[in-house]
Amino acid sequence: MAEQRAEFMYYAVTLATLVTMGLAVVRAILGPTLYDRVLAMNMFGTKTVLLLAVVAFLFGRPDFLDLVLTYALINFIGVFAVLEFFRIRAARRQDSGEAGR
């Protein structure tokens, strides 16, 4: 009984997470700025982490949590790579702007 109800709760959370992931995808596609997309991607990543954490229990395979851990960290690095990209782009533009003058 309790098992079943827990399962039901897992399903509910999973569903909510999935919907949010969908919304994040919509945001990533709509934009409108690059920063919105980065935000959406980051959010999508964390939601994936949540989703997989729940699914691991849903499937009864807690050893999948290693995987979830990895997701959380990798996602973080992705965001930093994006930031570095922005920084370099800004510096580049500044450089070329100065050169233009």
Binding site: F59, G60, R61, D63, F64
Partner: protein
């Protein structure tokens, strides 16, 4: 379950198509590589889907597991993913060089430059 099965193969086909279209129709070299990545991802999906067994679980001996999905397609796709990323990395290296030499990463512009 069967709905999902059919859906997997359709998604495989459509994803393959989307990626392939990007590879042959897009003129931007990076876009081609992105298309290639999607193209390969579709194939990965094909393999993994065929390895799934109803009622099975991940092929790691665990407490309660009785039946396992097939480990072989997973191994193959692990290798294929690595091959894919290697190809992408090499392709990006070439793109960077092309940009430096030609100042463009559009296929048509490069052809134009070479024709001159």
């Amino acid at each position: 379950m069967q709905v999902l099965g059919i859906y997997y193969y359709w998604v495989f086909a459509i994803l393959l198509m989307i990626g392939f279209y990007a590879v042959i129709a897009k003129l931007n070299l990076v876009k081609k590589l992105i298309g290639l990545t999607l193209f390969q991802a579709a194939v990965f999906l094909l393999y993994i889907a065929m390895g799934k067994m109803e009622g099975g679980t991940a092929p790691i001996y665990g407490a309660s597991a009785e039946a396992f999905s097939s480990p072989l397609p997973q191994v193959l796709i692990l290798t294929a993913i690595v091959v894919g990323i290697s190809t992408t990395a090499l392709g990006l290296g070439i793109v960077v060089r092309i940009k430096e030499e030609y100042g463009s990463i559009q296929e048509d512009e490069i052809q134009e430059i070479d024709r001159r």
